[in-house]
């Protein structure tokens, strides 16, 4: 036990946790963006991520395209996939009950998962494009795939955040999230903004999928673990709050890393839900959530 309290070991856990948490943050921010703008909980979000993973795997195994080269291309493909999905399917359930949005997106998740099984079988795939490790101060070891995945995830999340804060369309997305009817009378085409929002969310999921493919093995059935954790993260961070989902994701990554280090990796898998219960007991609206009137 004593050697676990060594500052180097603790730093190792923290760095590993933040890098893993960055991937959660990217995924959860995308999920929360859609929830914030249209009050739809997209249970197919992890399947969109896996679509990104399988595209990466196809491009890597067929054409030897490096995942980092494929990343922008895959994000564009996922953007238009999400844009179209909003247009033909999700737009119909905006403004209806949360139950119908859960049913429709759960159905979508099942369809995507089974199409994945049909095309790719249930065998696990991996994209071993990066290898090796970095050594920080000669003592802290960071696997290069995990380091790159974490940094790219942070950069993508930060770029989307800046887009929402500074860009004309990004501000319109925030306006629609707050008051769609007032945004409408400002001349904002709310339906189009929702398509862009879902596209953006899908592109973020796709980017997470590219990163996932480099660090984990995955199959069409990998989705549920991730969507449940993301769901926990956005509740922990505050529903609809971008920064909340970001810090919630990082927090979960760090807590999982410490749990795995101090207790066991089995416990780490369940810690998201324990964290959820604790935070909801202390702050029922999540870390950054507001009380509902």
């Amino acid at each position: 036990m004593m050697e676990l309290l060594d500052p180097i070991v603790l730093t190792q856990f923290a760095v590993g946790g933040i890098l893993a948490g960055a991937l959660y943050a990217l995924l959860a921010c995308g999920l929360n963006l859609v929830f914030g703008v249209m009050k739809v909980i997209n249970l197919a979000h992890a399947e969109l991520m896996l679509l990104g993973s399988f595209l990466t795997w196809l491009l890597f195994t067929t054409f030897e395209i490096h995942p980092l080269v494929a990343l922008p291309f895959i994000m564009v493909v996922l953007f238009f996939f999400g844009y179209g999905l909003q247009r033909v399917l999700i737009e119909r359930i905006v403004g209806t009950t949360e139950l119908s949005s859960l049913m429709v997106t759960y159905g979508l998740a099942i369809i995507m998962m089974n199409l994945g099984l049909l095309i790719f079988s249930s065998d696990f795939k991996a994209v071993p494009a990066l290898q090796g490790a970095w050594f920080l101060w000669d003592e802290i070891i960071i696997s290069i795939p995990r380091g790159v995945a974490g940094i790219v995830a942070l950069l993508v999340t930060l770029s989307v955040y800046l887009f929402l804060e500074k860009a004309r369309i990004g501000k319109a997305i925030r306006a629609v999230a707050e008051h769609a009817d007032v945004a409408l009378i400002c001349g904002i085409d709310v339906v189009k903004i929702r398509m862009i929002t879902f596209g953006l969310s899908a592109a973020m999921a796709g980017a997470a999928g590219v990163m996932l493919s480099m660090i984990y093995s995955f199959s069409p059935e990998t989705g549920p673990d991730f969507i449940l954790k993301c769901f926990a993260i956005i509740i922990i961070g505050g529903m609809g709050n971008f920064a909340g989902a970001f810090f919630g994701g990082l927090l979960l990554g760090v807590v999982e890393a410490f749990t795995a280090g101090f207790i066991s990796t089995q416990w780490a898998e369940g810690v998201a839900y324990m964290l959820l219960v604790i935070i909801l007991l202390v702050r029922p609206t999540g870390l950054r959530g507001k009380a509902h009137a």
Partner: protein
């Protein structure tokens, strides 16, 4: 020229229903350029529904709405601002988690040229210096009166000919009611045309060139503001006796 063509806004025989509940029955209404026109009436008379039909967020079943001679009945709401109509929603709804400046920018969403947006923001700031002082704050932190100024400023961003206001004085302190009505007079002096729904009927009539009193979704009285103010029936029905 016929009188009809000189109208900025012309509503004829307008019916509006929400589901199976009909709210408006054959409403007629004219707005002449440069005037302040008010719609008064008790709760449930359908006042707000008239202006919501104009800006495309309430469904017009029958009848017509013309703006500057062009039919805009059932025009999608997001296409209305480009025509020259600004709208101030009831309850001074602002984007609470966006800054004052960002709220104004949303009012000029249709302008893609950042320079023109900044010019419009500066123009509104010069009209509402208080908003300039608080430009970096989130709109949710403003007082009720300041939020109403912001909602009006946002509606002015595209320099509209017609400004439509839904209950501009509702829920404001007496001091801000005075300030807001002063602002509305100021807008008229700039040559803008105003159409407003107002529960403070006496106050609204006193500034209106023309006014319409509705009852249960139908036209009941229409005349100059002063004439309605002096009409004994109107006083009894809409101004609480006296």
């Amino acid at each position: 020229m016929s009188g009809n063509n000189s109208k900025l806004l012309k509503i004829r025989a307008l019916d509006v229903s929400y589901g199976s509940v009909q709210v408006l029955f054959g409403i007629d209404l004219d707005v002449t350029p440069g005037e302040i026109v008010s719609i008064i009436g008790p709760n449930g008379a359908g006042k707000s529904t008239v202006i919501k039909a104009v800006i495309g967020i309430a469904p017009a079943q029958r009848g017509s709405i013309h703006f500057k001679g062009r039919e805009i009945t059932r025009q999608p709401a997001h296409e209305i601002p480009a025509l020259g109509i600004g709208y101030v929603p009831q309850g001074r709804i602002v984007f609470a988690e966006m800054t004052v400046t960002e709220n104004l920018e949303m009012g000029a969403f249709l302008l893609k040229d950042g320079k023109r947006v900044r010019d419009a923001v500066d123009r509104v700031f010069s009209e509402f210096p208080r908003l300039h002082e608080r430009r970096k704050q989130n709109a949710g932190r403003l007082s009720g009166g300041e939020q109403q100024m912001l909602a009006i400023g946002r509606a002015l961003m595209l320099d509209p000919e017609l400004v439509i206001l839904d209950e501009p004085s509702l829920g404001l302190s007496p001091k801000y009611v005075d300030i807001i009505f002063e602002k509305l007079m100021g807008l008229k002096e700039q040559g803008r045309t105003l159409l407003m729904v107002e529960q403070n009927a006496a106050r609204a009539l006193s500034v209106s060139d023309h006014a319409y009193a509705l009852e249960l979704g139908k036209n009941r009285f229409s005349d100059t503001g002063q004439a309605l103010l002096n009409n004994t029936d109107v006083r009894k029905m809409y101004l609480g006796g006296a």
